[in-house]
């Protein structure tokens, strides 16, 4: 009995002695990157800009400040290491929340950069990714947003907020890689634009493989979202054309669900999307009386048509451009036993046809008449 206890005691002491030299990452002795951006230098090198909070040592008021460091290099890993050259504390990526890529870089392909992050176990899977219009994503991190928030906090929240309130189709690093490594789907990322004094979300950047392909504006991003994801508690404004005057109606508490069906009975595959939406009218600036079932039906009809027309146009546009952000290929794959990605891409997809049926239910029309 004694022997055994002494043994276990030795174990503890031994561990202490042996492992006492593990590399630590004490929170206040490292620089925790919150946001990082990838740019393409003119000579084809990668420029990595990171933003991390620092704490001025003096004084009792513990205020956060932000530091920006940039480095250039050939590979992500190498650039990450050279970031340390001008950092006071070691740079770590475990708390990174957002990765930004300039459009110029994205046109060359982003896989190797994202893959390097995916391989790093310290980096989370839920982090947001974004494409910045232009060729200088690093400038975005350094921008004085004038709102008191640091870019490392502001940017991820900006993206997440817009995805949660259901205007942008949702994506994060995991979902991006899921689509990227999926032969029946193409990836997309939120698109961010910067002007002199503000940063805003502008829509969706569509990818073909790992390369930036085209942009989709804010309005169309919403229609795309209806086709590939369920919406919860969203809000959207629709224009109603009525006898040459345009009125606007805002639908809130917008919930949507969608079903994809495939009709293979014809010689070209026909994809049918059934989108079910319900919501409540919050704001309406037109002249009609909303209490009348007829008017309400009219508005409903008008919105339904709008959505289905625009969605169909989008699907055809995607088809013509050879990209597939909504996962048409995935649907086709799920119904065929001899799936061939090449054949799908080159023969079947370009000939596919689409039909979008929208069923809108307005369940309540505001508390005020």
């Amino acid at each position: 009995m004694n022997k055994r206890l002494i043994c276990s005691f030795v174990v503890l002491i031994y561990t202490l002695l042996l492992t006492g030299c593990l590399e630590t990452s004490i929170v206040d002795e490292v620089s925790m990157v919150r946001a990082a951006s990838f740019d393409l230098e003119e000579d084809g090198k990668l420029k990595l800009t990171v933003s991390f909070p620092t704490f001025p040592d003096k004084g009792q008021e513990q205020t956060l400040e932000q530091r920006i460091i940039e480095a250039t290099g050939e590979t992500t890993k190498g650039t990450k290491i050279s970031l340390n050259k001008n950092a006071q504390k070691p740079i770590l990526f475990g708390q990174v929340r957002v990765l930004l890529f300039s459009q110029a870089l994205a046109e060359q392909g982003v896989e190797k950069y994202i893959d390097a992050m995916y391989r790093d176990p310290a980096v989370g899977n839920r982090i947001s990714l974004g494409i910045v219009e232009g060729n200088d994503a690093g400038a975005l991190l350094d921008k004085d947003l004038g709102i008191g928030d640091l870019s490392g906090v502001f940017l991820p929240e900006l993206i997440e907020q817009n995805q949660d309130t259901s205007t942008l189709p949702p994506t994060n690093m995991h979902q991006f890689l899921f689509s990227l490594y999926n032969d029946g789907r193409d990836a997309y990322l939120p698109l961010i634009i910067q002007s002199d004094d503000k940063v805003s979300v502008a829509g969706t950047a569509l990818f073909s493989g790992d390369k930036f392909h085209s942009k989709l504006n804010f309005e169309d991003s919403f229609f795309m979202k209806l086709l590939l994801d369920t919406t919860r508690q969203g809000i959207h404004e629709f224009a109603i054309e009525d006898q040459e005057q345009t009125s606007y109606v805002v639908i809130e508490k917008l919930n949507s669900d969608f079903k994809r069906k495939l009709d293979k009975s014809r010689d070209v595959p026909l994809f049918i999307f059934d989108v079910k939406i319900d919501g409540a009218i919050e704001d309406y600036d037109g002249q009609m009386n909303l209490d009348e079932t007829k008017t309400l039906n009219k508005i409903q009809q008008s919105i339904e048509n709008q959505i289905s027309n625009r969605a169909q146009e989008l699907l055809i546009q995607f088809r013509n451009e050879g990209i597939d952000p909504v996962g048409i290929g995935e649907k086709y794959r799920s119904t065929t036993r001899n799936w061939n990605a090449e054949q799908w891409r080159n023969e079947l997809y370009p000939s596919a046809e689409f039909e979008v049926n929208v069923d809108l239910k307005i369940i309540q029309s505001g508390a005020v008449e």
Binding site: M1, L22, S25, V27, Q95
Partner: protein, 497 residues
Amino acid sequence: MIGRWLMKKMIDNRKETLRDVFLQFQQSTDFVIYTFKTDERMFKIAYFQTLIDTDRLNRDILPSLTKSDCKTLESLLTEVSIQDKEIIKSPKDLREKVLQGFVAVYEGKDPSKCAIIESSMDSGRDVSPPENEFSVAGPQEAFIESVDTNINLIRKRLPLAQLQIKEMKIGKITQTRVAVLYIDGLVDKDNLHTIEQRLGDVEFDQVIDSSSLAQMISDNTMSIFPQLVNTERPERVASVLAEGKVAFLADGSPEAVFGPTTLVEFFSSLEDYYLPWQIATSVRLLRFFAVAFSVLSTPLYVAVLTFHYELIPRDLLSTIIASRSNIPFPPILEAIFLELTIELLREAGARLPTKVGQTIGIVGGIVIGQASVEAGLTSNILLIIVALAALASFTTPVYQMGNTIRLIRFPFILMAAFLGGVGVAFCLLVTIVHLLQLTSLGRPYMEPIFPPRFSDWRDAFVRLPFNWMSSRPVYLRPRDKGRFNFSRAVQKHDIDE
């Protein structure tokens, strides 16, 4: 030295006479011998004046001695109105009795027999409310230092012929009376034999308190976990005896010890049975949470801040970094510093008189804590965690287990600093394996968790209503399993019956 002297004396005993005993006693100044001489006889009375009650001596014994019609010791004894009295011949008995506060009466210089009359001074205190195991509800009586009073307190609660008491003397020097209590017909004979045998085998020269005795007879004396429960509440002993456990009391010790026990029993308080079962269950669960919190919170803080910064939720990150940004030490030193401060306060508070102790606790806690945060030695988040952990460790109802929990956090903290989360998990694993291997009087310590006995879960982590506890705990192997007839207790009546 004393031991050897005693040994020598004991060997000498064989030929020693009563007179030798008196001679030996006379070396102490508090031993007195008086002579009462009448015409026909000469009685000598001898006693330790520090051990006897002089009032009783004067009132009950001396008048009989001076009466002239008492001619022999036998007739003297019939006169004296004290119950405990006899004639003895053996020097060994004489020594023992006189040292217990008996008065010896004998004739002549070298007597062959001696009358002894009980006249001991009762210097014990009265039965008072429990202090360590305080409870709001329930009886407010605690054991005192006299084993007879203590047995009386238990017997009053268990007026049974089957409540049996076996007495033995332990300790070569202290000769402490130890009473083993059990209810015949309920107790598992193995448990009883184990405890009797182990008590009989104790060869330590002094037994000061029942808790030291409990340590000597534990199954694994190297373990940091207590394997027998100490209690100062008579009703707790009565209640465990009725479950089929064995308890023992030592003279001079205001605590009873009982066993076999399990880990979870240390976290159950008798108050759990006085409160409604829903409340008792919640309180018990709260205690288990408190133990987990107390043991794991500081190590996890150290582990996360030293190695796993990725785990910190984004909203907490700024707060944590800000609170640590001025601290010059790594988290491990910071944590050890604060933990030691708390332990110091606790120890100082325990040693000081109650009122001063409280002041020290409050002043020390607030002032030192606040000052060390302001001086930038510790972060205020850690201060909160350590204070809460200390608070949580006080919820354990049994004092011994509370101490264990205080101590086992330190290896956890150290391992957290060396191996992060893996270190904490490893410590947890070692603790669990150790607990699995522990036994209490040969019964598994981790029961009812392992071996899994689900019927005992009714009164382990939770406390279910009494009418569900129709049988006694399985692990005690009671010879009579049923507490009451369950089928009668749960008889269903229709709505309008």
